[in-house]
């Protein structure tokens, strides 16, 4: 069984601070939703409200169509995996995994069957008698997931589950999580500050900032059509370049300081003369002069194996620039080079509102109020 989740105008206030401000979000049954944002953006609070660990100040939460706004955590048919794993230190792995079932007085053979099944899925059958302190970080993480699986809930909640692991293990567990989701098909809400985790795991990403949803969309949508400056800057690595400019013509942005004019993929409806922010992904900057050429002073060249990330400043304006170019170009450090732009990676944002002027909000993509 898997159940959808619906958040209706969910708000959390601590005193005068509004941590989560009227969130509306619908997750279909079986969907993998990732809440992403910087620390303090309200993503963990939102997850904890879904779990029932935190009371909502306003709004309603529905799981599987049932209003659970005031229900106890154990009445919501959810399981949660914590960043610190939160294993019971005095219990063995098997006891950790079966604790919830023993509380419901499930039959012994049923408990053994479900614990065995979960342990087999996660490859921790040989650890069942150990105490958590005798396990590595990765093994504890598996036990925490096992404890969630054993309960066969309708919804899985993950609160930064991979943040305490080293980079290599994190990448490996990320793949395992994706496989696990495919296998179990349970609705999942996953909180992370790591946009790579968000991009690789999510069916839909929810980007939060100061308690407000900035955009909801598939990884492709939020990468290719960021609705505003915040999303554009948050999603994508390295971070998108942002230059101050003016809309000189419907399909042209001038960067006065750099004395360059950049052609846009399509003409805009906005007023000519409007101050804008030109956003270009590092991958959208190409080596060599083109129809319009940006001069870049390269300070550092980082060779990453398949591409080289050039960090420097824009000649004329001195604004920081990052370009990700294919191949090895370590020799470009301390040189001044020509870059051309790939119009597909060019975005224009209103300098005042921060909204994307090229890609207006798609139908049904904007669930923010």
């Amino acid at each position: 069984m898997s159940a959808g989740i619906e958040l209706i105008n969910v708000t959390k206030r601590f005193g005068n601070n509004t941590i989560v401000d009227g969130i509306n979000l619908t997750a279909a049954a079986g969907e993998f939703i990732v809440l992403v944002g910087a620390s303090g953006c309200g993503k963990s609070t939102t997850l904890r409200m879904i779990a029932g660990l935190e009371a909502v100040s306003d709004g309603r939460i529905l799981i599987g169509g049932r209003d659970v706004t005031t229900a106890r955590p154990d009445q919501r048919d959810i399981a949660m995996v914590f960043q610190s794993y939160a294993l019971y230190p005095h219990m063995s792995v098997a006891e950790n995994m079966s604790f919830a079932l023993t509380l419901t007085r499930a039959p012994k053979d049923e408990i053994a069957r479900r614990v065995g099944e979960a342990a087999r899925i996660l490859g921790i059958e040989n650890l069942l008698d150990r105490k958590p302190k005798a396990l590595s970080g990765g093994q504890r993480q598996r036990v925490a997931m096992g404890r969630a699986i054993v309960r066969e809930p309708s919804v899985f909640l993950f609160d930064e589950p991979l943040s305490n692991l080293d980079a290599k293990l994190r990448a490996q567990m990320r793949v395992e999580l994706a496989l696990l989701h495919k296998r179990l098909g349970k609705t999942t809400v996953y909180v992370t500050h790591d946009q790579v985790e968000a991009m690789t795991l999510a069916e839909r990403i929810v980007i939060l900032e100061r308690g407000v949803i900035q955009q909801i969309g598939t990884p492709t949508e939020v990468f290719n059509r960021p609705q505003n400056l915040f999303v554009a800057g948050f999603i994508g690595s390295p971070v998108m370049n942002m230059f101050k400019g003016v809309l000189a013509a419907p399909d042209r942005v001038d960067l006065p300081d750099a004395q360059v004019s950049v052609r846009l993929p399509a003409p805009l409806g906005a007023t000519v003369g409007k101050p804008v922010i030109l956003g270009i992904r590092p991958q959208g900057l190409l080596l060599g002069a083109g129809a319009e050429t940006l001069r870049m002073r390269v300070k550092v060249a980082e060779f990453l194996g398949t591409e080289t990330v050039l960090n420097g400043t824009l000649a004329g304006s001195g604004e920081p620039v990052t370009a990700a170019v294919g191949g090895e170009h370590g020799q470009l450090a301390d040189h001044e080079i020509d870059l051309s732009t790939n119009p597909a990676h060019v975005h224009v944002f209103d300098a005042e509102t921060g909204l994307n002027l090229i890609q207006p909000a798609k139908e049904g993509n904007n669930e923010t109020t």
Binding site: L53, P73, D74, M80, L87, Y88, L103, K133
Partner: protein, 305 residues
């Protein structure tokens, strides 16, 4: 690190350790003089018949006679039994009340800091003063306790004159003074418990009592064990409050081991026997101390981190 470096380290740490011993030597000498010497001389006294005020040269070597008394004197075993009863009742009540209070007062409720401070005050009072205070409270004629009972139409009781009530009185005084110790230890233990583990238990379907019994208290089991043993050690050595409150009476109803040792030495003037019984008490307390020290080791990996 290279092998040469490792060897240098070893030599270095060896001479460091010699230097360290040199620095703590004065403290070690004072500790030995203050602790080990009295223990040895008390044990030695057990082999002699000697009265205070007489020259040591007149002391008579009696061999193991005094130690035989330990095993044959019914008063020794009676007072040991009284000590056991006293320790069992008072310490279990203190543990129960201390844990219950700590569970009730943990968390950040407004005004709790005030109550926490209030609750630990009895621990700060000197035991002699505690004894005196309770003697007035239990006083048959002018005591506050009988006055309170009178409010509920309960007849005045001779608290310190009745064998059962006197025993209850010393236990009440001990509970009053030492429940705060258990309270402090448990509060400190509870504050170290990872709150996400408790949240995980709530999600797993555990309600308050189940979380407390099956997660919270087991997670501070080491703290509870050490607290228990430390209280037992103190309960076995208890003297001052009883000395002031009942002086072991009426009869011998509240005569714990240390009270009996005191009477044997300073009233009966049988220093040899008193020393021999002291060795017995010392053995019991040392065993409990050893238990406490052994339990204090696993504290560092309490939360399985």
């Amino acid at each position: 690190m290279t092998d040469a470096g490792g060897a240098a380290m070893t030599i270095n740490s060896r001479s460091n350790s010699r230097t360290a011993w040199f620095f703590i030597l004065p403290a070690v000498i004072i500790m030995l003089a203050a602790c080990l010497y009295p223990v040895i001389s008390a044990a030695r006294l057990g082999f002699y018949d000697w009265s205070m005020g007489t020259p040591w040269s007149q002391a008579k070597w009696t061999g193991w006679t005094s130690f035989e008394i330990v095993f044959t004197d019914p008063a020794v075993w009676r007072s040991l039994w009284t000590t056991l009863k006293f320790a069992a009742v008072s310490v279990s009540a203190e543990m129960f009340l201390g844990i219950a209070l700590a569970l009730a007062l943990e968390g950040n409720i407004r005004g709790m800091a005030f109550f926490r401070t209030l609750f630990i005050l009895p621990m700060m009072v000197a035991p002699i003063a505690v004894g005196l205070t309770w003697r007035y409270l239990f006083d048959a004629q002018f005591g506050l306790i009988n006055a309170l009972l009178a409010v509920f139409d309960v007849a005045a009781k001779g608290w310190l004159a009745d064998e059962t009530l006197a025993f209850a009185a010393i236990i009440i005084a001990d509970i009053w003074q030492w429940t705060p110790f258990v309270f402090i230890m448990v509060i400190a233990g509870l504050s170290s418990v990872d709150s996400t583990v408790l949240e995980a238990a709530r999600i797993d379907g555990a309600r308050w009592w189940t979380v407390t019994r099956r997660v919270k208290l087991p997670m501070i089991a080491h703290v509870l064990a050490i607290t228990l043993v430390m209280r037992l050690i103190d309960a076995f050595r208890v003297l001052e409050v009883i000395y002031v409150l009942t002086f072991g009476g009426p009869g011998d109803s509240t005569e714990v081991l240390s009270m009996y040792i005191y009477k044997t030495a300073f009233i009966g003037q049988r220093l040899g026997s008193a020393s021999a019984i002291s060795v017995l008490l010392l053995a019991v307390v040392m065993f409990l101390t050893w238990l406490a020290l052994r339990m204090s080791n696993p504290l560092d990996d309490e939360n399985g981190q």
